[in-house]
């Protein structure tokens, strides 16, 4: 008995809307790391700092043996150590944006997933398949970016939010909530802004590269190389302590400004200009390289 046939037959259906069509793109991009052992390994590596923070948080809340010592230490900490105290905004923001804390994790995550997103489609001529479907190049870009943002955002914004919710749920009283609630919306918005800007830059760079490996290398060079440029500029211009050339630090400065975390050594205006100029120039290049007329050659 045939349960159901696989014969190709006429199909009546109501076409989905333009936005609904982007869902499979977003889903595919969000799940990109779950397709291989390497991807899952990368994701586990990238969430490992979150576990460290979680242990600190649980300890601070008295759920782990070293709670007392941690609370005593939190009473009077120097500013540089505030990023380890769960009732300080730095605990949630710096874990993502601080050079020593979040840079390497972010670089690995974006280099393995986000930077390859459009470049690998170009390398396999998949753009021809996409653009002869019911989506526009802009829709395709939005879908790809949002998928990449969802993945990276799960680690950056989702991580911070998860820590906060765990803290509220496991705390004995409302003290934790009362001390964190005033800054948490701003902190989450700062993380959101940081993730949006960085993933946008990364996907735009991916859109102008011919291969996934090239995109990964260029992204690493852009983040790492801009640090080198900043160091050189600081040497050349010793009087100007607010020189901003490192893309990572520029985005971190903007995030810190939003979250209300003190930022030193970088100017907010300079950071905004740098990020704006980079976004604009990469957008123009990406727009050119994603033209629909290039789909069929």
């Amino acid at each position: 008995m045939t349960v159901y046939g696989l014969e190709y037959r006429p199909k009546d259906y109501r076409p989905t809307s333009a936005w609904q069509r982007l869902r499979p793109l977003v889903r595919a991009e969000r799940n990109v790391l779950f397709r291989s052992k390497w991807g899952i390994g990368t994701l586990l590596f990238c969430v490992s700092p979150l576990f460290v923070r979680l242990v600190i948080l649980l300890g601070y809340l008295g759920l782990l043996p070293f709670a007392g010592r941690l609370r005593d230490a939190a009473e009077d900490v120097p500013p540089a150590m505030r990023m380890w105290i769960p009732t300080e905004v730095e605990f949630y923001v710096e874990q993502v944006v601080a050079m020593e804390q979040g840079f390497f994790v972010f670089l690995v995550l974006t280099a393995m997933a986000t930077a390859r997103t459009i470049a690998k489609d170009r390398a396999t001529n998949a753009l021809e398949l996409y653009w002869t479907r019911g989506i526009s190049p802009f829709g395709y870009f939005v879908g790809k970016w949002f998928g990449a943002f969802s993945l990276v955002g799960c680690v950056t914004v989702g991580g911070g939010l998860l820590l906060w919710l765990v803290g509220i749920l496991f705390a004995e009283d409302w003290t934790y909530f009362e001390s964190t609630a005033p800054f948490m919306p701003r902190a989450l918005f700062a993380l959101l802004t940081f993730t949006v800007v960085m993933t946008l830059l990364c996907v735009l760079l991916s859109a102008v590269c011919a291969s996934a490996n090239l995109a990964t290398i260029l992204w690493c060079l852009l983040l790492g190389g801009s640090f080198a440029v900043e160091i050189v500029l600081r040497e050349l211009l010793p009087g100007n302590r607010d020189t901003t050339a490192a893309i990572w630090e520029a985005a971190a400065t903007v995030a810190r400004a939003i979250a209300g975390v003190p930022y030193r050594g970088h100017s907010l205006e300079g950071s905004l200009w740098l990020l704006g100029a980079l976004l604009l120039s990469l957008s123009l290049l990406a727009r050119r390289s994603l033209r629909a007329t290039e789909a069929i050659q």
């Binding site: 199909k11 259906y13 076409p15 069509r21 869902r23 499979p24 396999t124 479907r133 526009s136």
Partner: protein, 310 residues
């Protein structure tokens, strides 16, 4: 009518890719023939809504000229010439995703991709990554992706590219089935004339952006000059070049020859002549031009016309 082009001109800057093309592609299988740069891809691009024609009118099915590109692509399936796939995906994932991007609801896309892959003979390999497919399997996967959203018209760009003889025969069988059993209108863009001859009912020959021949293949291949294929036995019978008044031998070899006739051929005279030389006529059939001859003839006459006008 599948596609109708009226005085369509497509220019890229100062370069004219398609020059005042007026053609109607009927339902069924139609071959779009032409050398590289003849304008085939430009016509496909504009039919898919990727390029706006500089002037002229263009219609697909019953859609209005102003129909949005997404609406056109929902009714049209396109199989690209180049090797292309969605990286990191299995055949099933690729086809269902492309179905959803064409407007199929998610559940329908999943079911439909099974059907399309089954139709194309990939039912056993559908969960394998496309990157590990052979050339023939990738062509089939592209065809399945072109069919997943149940389009009325399918544009196939060089579907037999890179296939071995078995794969080519299988692909042509599939295309034939699409056009003649499943009721799809197929536009086959290629420069392999045998493919068009094998599966198409009609053909359009393009040369330097202009239509130089079009019509049903049967009509195009019908003899314009009076030629006959003759087979005699035994093969050793010698026939003179001018065997009869107004009849001459165009080519000859091993008992077979082609005769060109100025007026009407009187078979009895020919039979008698061969019999007089100790042989028998075993076969006498009118000469049918191959599509290759039609193509070359059309292209050469277009070249000659350009030479005269220059």
């Amino acid at each position: 009518m599948t596609v109708e082009l009226q005085d369509v001109v497509i220019r890229y800057g100062s370069f004219t890719a398609v020059s005042s093309v007026t053609v109607t592609l009927p339902t069924g299988a139609v071959g779009l023939l032409g050398r590289n740069g003849a304008g085939k891809s430009s016509i496909l691009k504009s039919l898919l809504g990727l390029v706006r024609p500089t002037s002229g009118r263009m219609r697909i099915l019953d859609l209005p000229e102003s129909a949005p590109a997404a609406e056109i692509r929902a009714r049209v399936g396109y199989m690209p010439e180049r090797d292309c796939h969605l990286p990191g995906m299995s055949g099933f994932e690729m086809v269902s995703m492309l179905g959803q991007l064409s407007g199929l609801p998610e559940r329908d896309a999943y079911r439909r991709s099974h059907e399309a892959l089954y139709l194309c003979g990939l039912e056993e390999q559908r969960y394998r990554p496309v990157s590990g497919y052979s050339a023939g399997m990738r062509q089939k996967a592209k065809l399945a992706a072109a069919l997943v959203h149940d389009p009325q018209v399918v544009f196939l760009d060089e579907p037999t590219n890179g296939l071995d003889p078995d794969g080519r025969a299988e692909m042509l069988r599939l295309v034939h089935r699409l056009a003649h059993k499943l009721g799809k209108s197929v536009v086959l863009s290629t420069h392999i004339l045998q493919d068009v001859e094998a599966v198409c009912d009609a053909a359009v020959v393009l040369e330097q952006g202009k239509v130089v021949a079009q019509g049903r293949i049967e009509d195009l291949c019908r003899a314009t000059e009076r030629r006959y294929h003759v087979q005699v036995e035994p093969a050793t019978v010698e026939i003179p070049d001018h065997i009869l008044a107004g009849v001459r031998i165009a080519s000859q070899g091993a008992g077979r020859f082609v005769v060109e006739v100025e007026g009407d051929l009187e078979p009895r005279e020919l039979f008698a002549l061969v019999q007089g030389r100790g042989g028998t006529v075993r076969e006498l059939v009118p000469h049918r031009r191959s599509l290759e001859e039609v193509f070359l003839g059309a292209v050469r006459s277009a070249e000659a016309q350009r030479g005269v006008s220059a």
